[in-house]
Symmetry: C2
Subunit: 264 residues, 2 copies
């Protein structure tokens, strides 16, 4: 991943970063427990009894072997006081950082639910691979700082994966709000977003910083430019869409097994 405003440099960085050896360690980063649980079952993973994370953090890790792969699934867990999933960019970036340090993954897969824009062809239940990620709620109107705020990055290129699994491909825009303000909407349009989440660009930032390839698998729970209130539509569709996400995630892992990042 690299900023898209210098495509040549970005391509070079990507080539250097992408290992040619088969992928051995996959790290799933999943924001909500509801999204993670079916995958934990599917891959028959065990919860880590001795956390690799510091005392006090709510982060949860599941691990195990699936085919030729070591699979880790990490979740930010439940807020220790409020009891809700620690969604959003701050928790996601911390968890990504700590997990890369502790687990040294070959590939990060950020899997989760997302909003989708029907104007860009998204429907509830669609599963997307993100081609690019960016933030839509970090407005810093000073030259160059503005680009830093948007933080646009390319995901690890996966043309074979997208074609083989017949996955839709679109740009992902990330922000810390579930709703969409007019300012957010303007920035999402500028980001050319098809899908919207609350973690992706933060995970991409940390993965880029520590030179780990990352892909973003997002299933659409709600239509951002539709008539229904986001929170209601999100909660209504969460379980059914999570099943579609987990099916896709399993197929992605089956496809990855035995391949290097450059073959994706």
């Amino acid at each position: 991943m690299a900023p898209p405003h210098d495509d040549k440099a970005a391509a070079e960085v990507n080539d250097e970063q992408i290992p040619k050896r088969p992928i051995s360690n996959i790290l799933f980063i999943i924001a909500m427990q509801t999204e993670a649980s079916p995958l934990v079952d599917k891959f028959q993973l065990a919860e880590d009894p001795d956390s690799v994370f510091p005392k006090g953090v709510p982060w949860v890790r599941y691990y195990g072997k699936y085919k030729d792969l070591n699979i880790n699934i990490v979740c930010p867990g439940k807020d220790t006081v409020l009891g809700v999933d620690c969604v959003g960019t701050v928790s996601a970036s911390l968890l990504t950082y700590a997990s890369i340090q502790a687990l040294q993954p070959d590939l990060i897969i950020n899997a989760g639910t997302s909003g989708g824009f029907k104007a860009k062809g998204a429907s509830v239940g669609d599963v997307y691979l993100a081609s690019d990620v960016a933030f839509h709620d970090r407005r810093i109107p000073i030259p160059v700082f503005d680009l830093y705020g948007v933080g646009s990055r390319q995901a690890c290129s996966t043309p074979n994966l997208a074609e083989e699994l017949n996955l839709k491909v679109g740009k992902l825009s990330t922000g810390d709000s579930l709703d969409m303000s007019p300012h957010d909407e303007e920035a999402m349009v500028a980001n050319d977003a098809t899908i919207k989440d609350m973690e992706g660009a933060a995970i991409a930032y940390v993965a880029d910083l520590l030179k780990v390839p990352a892909i973003f698998l997002k299933a659409v729970t709600d239509i951002v430019d539709g008539d229904k209130p986001t929170a209601e539509e999100f909660l209504q569709n969460l379980l059914a869409v999570t099943a579609a996400l987990d099916l896709a995630a399993t197929k992605v892992v089956d496809f990855i097994n035995g391949k290097s990042c450059s073959e994706l």
Copy 2:
């Protein structure tokens, strides 16, 4: 620090967290190099030649001894591609996490510039201690998730420090944008904010997670509810206000020397 909606529990947690022994290790977290440099000079700190941070991150650490105190100043540094200071909540939370892990501080001081609300009595050049911190750009309109998004926390209580140094005290609201959208403004009013920054609540979140007391020292560079464009006013006042901030920070450290957190 603890959520303010349960004051009894918050007070108990604070009492447990605050060590009674004299503070020995202070960690300054400062977002911009311009804000940090005068303090680095004042305390005669040296840049760490062998970074305690992972390869690839732009984070910078200065360290040294001042009176009876070990002082570390960490900055998120310059974006490796864009060359601007890595401001905002994602970088700040990562740096806070990694610094606590590596340096085990007794007290965190997040020092920096901020916007101020003239309606709440703030003027350019004022230096504030934050009593509370919260986010204003994480809207999640689902019960309990909404509280998680706002992430309101009390700073380490420092009544003696505020009185002795005659510092103003007010609530701090944090967001990743330098400007202020109508949605942000509404949330800042709900947060009862006197000052506005781009890092504080994220640093408070991580400090709370890892049980390190934190205080927030913020100097006002621009008036949020004034007539001048924020970016212009910010850049115009940055150097002069930084001098006021650094003077206050020095007095804070002089006051802290020889005291425990509970004496602040």
